[in-house]
Symmetry: C2
Amino acid sequence: MPSPVAPASPATPTAPGRSVRDRILDAFEDLLAEHSERAATLEAVAARAGVSKGGLLYHFASKDALVDGVLERFAADLERDVEHMRSAPDGPVSYFLRTSIPSDNRLERVIVAIARLAQASDARASDALADAQRLWLSELEAVVGDRMVARTIMLIGDGMYYNSALLPAANAVLRDETDVQQLIALVERLSARD
Amino acid sequence: MPSPVAPASPATPTAPGRSVRDRILDAFEDLLAEHSERAATLEAVAARAGVSKGGLLYHFASKDALVDGVLERFAADLERDVEHMRSAPDGPVSYFLRTSIPSDNRLERVIVAIARLAQASDARASDALADAQRLWLSELEAVVGDRMVARTIMLIGDGMYYNSALLPAANAVLRDETDVQQLIALVERLSARD
DNA sequence: GTCTATAAGTAGATAGAC
DNA sequence: GTCTATCTACTTATAGAC
């Protein structure tokens, strides 16, 4: 016998090794982040996840349950990110700004997705974003010392995130790693001052 | 005769001196900014403006026309703002940051409203925001000199705007005028350096 | 110009077959 | 577990009376 894993699932249903639940949440996040809250209908999510609407509703009984699923996964992602931030070789400030640049990592995609839910007036989503901010901010304040400087760094990261969520990519205020390197140098001059 | 203005409108329909068209656009912006894109249905807008759905659709033949109306007013508001920025006694940088703090002025409300439309994947709204950014950025670059510092200031302003649109007010990273005064001092130290 | 009534389409959610 | 078919509610837009 070839090792006793996964009693029912053959090996690779559609995406490699992801459960149906995870594939549905992935699809929901993708549609939210890449298109809009309105585009993330149950039917569209189901189609993208490769199941029917009924199939989706078996795993998540309502759209609210879908949102809860995203928020739960985010909480875990966030925890991991704060640990990475704490132990980053180039320090938390650089890590924070580096990872705020528009890219394709999972955490950013979830945040954009949740920001879209927040704008669609989902209070749970707003709270989740506020929680994340508080976490990052306390990390920044711990290393930067000055409260105001930490908050400024926070705002810069916020600006980068939200711009990438709202504007066509071509209009990003910062474009690439080089820009961010300059920004980090600038901010570190700021934080080294007080 | 008392001067040849407004052949048909008596003087004050409901709001002081505003035309039905303007009242409808006000209502649309209010619902977008205070609630969400989804909340700004034709029926809700009509109710808030004090007309029926049919009455609204007489003035704006479709929801798209309503969006166009908001975008046109914004273009005018923006032009005025850039002039104020240019001639601000405390300088464009301070003006920009000062007016980025969450408050109740018209310009901010329109921007939040348009940001909501942009997130609902309205390309015209995204373009309008990108245009505004370009305008402000060129003003900042003109006085600051350093391109990167100007962009950093821009990002800080963006962060403030979007936070006020996304998060419960209590969670604002910056709370009051005092915070912003400190931030301005910080940023001016930055821009005076290069 | 502003209204009511209604058409046409789409959303989320339920029921029940397989 | 996953599907199809269907219900109900809501949204945009039209038609036509006043």
